[in-house]
Symmetry: C2
Amino acid sequence: MNKYYEIYEDLKAKILNNEYRELLPSENQLTEIYGVTRNTIRRAIDLLASDGFVVSKKGKGVFVLENRSVEFAISGLESFREVMIRTGEKFKTDVAEFGAMIADEQLAKQSGFTPGTVLTHIKRVRSLQNERIILDVNYFVEQLIPGLTKEVAEQSIYTFIEQELNIEIGIAKKSIVIERATEMDYQYLDMLDFDLVVVVHNFVYLQDGVLFEYTQSRHRPDRFIFTDIARR
Amino acid sequence: MNKYYEIYEDLKAKILNNEYRELLPSENQLTEIYGVTRNTIRRAIDLLASDGFVVSKKGKGVFVLENRSVEFAISGLESFREVMIRTGEKFKTDVAEFGAMIADEQLAKQSGFTPGTVLTHIKRVRSLQNERIILDVNYFVEQLIPGLTKEVAEQSIYTFIEQELNIEIGIAKKSIVIERATEMDYQYLDMLDFDLVVVVHNFVYLQDGVLFEYTQSRHRPDRFIFTDIARR
DNA sequence: GAGTGGTCTAGACCACCGG
DNA sequence: CGGTGGTCTAGACCACTCG
């Protein structure tokens, strides 16, 4: 593994272990401790900072943040759905719909796909403790992600894409908005008395910059959480 | 200004101007174009990547993303409130409450402040086109942010902190959840027929790692949007 | 003035990609 | 194989902080 990543993990462990409290050792001291150059140390510290563990201040040092609450410590930016999928927390997935379709004008406008693109369209219901709380509506470009099956959709599509197809994901753009619940939401989710859903729009790009997935994650409002850490 | 930042802005302009489409020039070519080292070029490209403009692929090059929608292109991570404040878009701010208070057990638990901390407590209503759509509930540590007044709160508290007090902000942790509207929400916001609010919890730290602000931004659901770009 | 983090240079080796 | 981006080194100068 990379040196800077190993150092990052080591520093993170020491911080969580309260070995480093107020201040980290200076970058120069750390170069001696780990036997690497300052650049490598700085990359490790950058990772810590983007995780919200530390903040650097010119002329003073690298400060360890107080009150590192657990939820935030876990990761930089995740929706409830992603946390659940990552931790595999008693999550039940039902594939409600699976098939091919062609992007029409409206979907093209919403997703950014070119009209006429052949898509694999999937609807999946995520349940937690027998409550259906998230509806994932996926659109994958068939040409870019071939071989998708209902069986794959029941497991992890991303494992399939990355492990089986050996395709690497570039970046994902998200937007979060609140929408009135639709017929579809009432049909697939246990909405209780809610009439709104939290919709996370996901636009996912391959490493060569091509949009290959557009997904709506539709959450029941009470089971939604999204966390983030922003650096100045 | 920094070299890497200037190069970042230049490259961004060229991308938006369609001078670079599929691929950027290679990093080695860019070093010659700008007369800097590869490290500096790479820092500029890193910024472009975290803005969601490009994705790098080993052995191939730096790809420009297709479908760069406007909202995303503006910035990495912003809530509606922040966009409005940044653009100054016909935003009216009313200070509904202003005063000192002491953190009790419950607030301490929620915010992370030590119980007994003296706080400046502010409630502000943000209106757009005569609709009251956001309620900001602020708690600032009085000792760290002294001299706050109602007049400051009517303008920009952050301008005051950064310009007048010359204090630098470190990082901010946010979480977004949906809550039932409270009496307070109905009192201060034009809720129409909504009974839920989007609550953005903000924990803001100084550069020395000390928590100095806890704020709830309570949004009417239909006027909330949050965007983000995540790199793999 | 000594120590800190922020920027930048010049150069090296590597893994990956394509012809 | 040559070209690409990813990592890392060794060293320099700067702005900032604090005694």
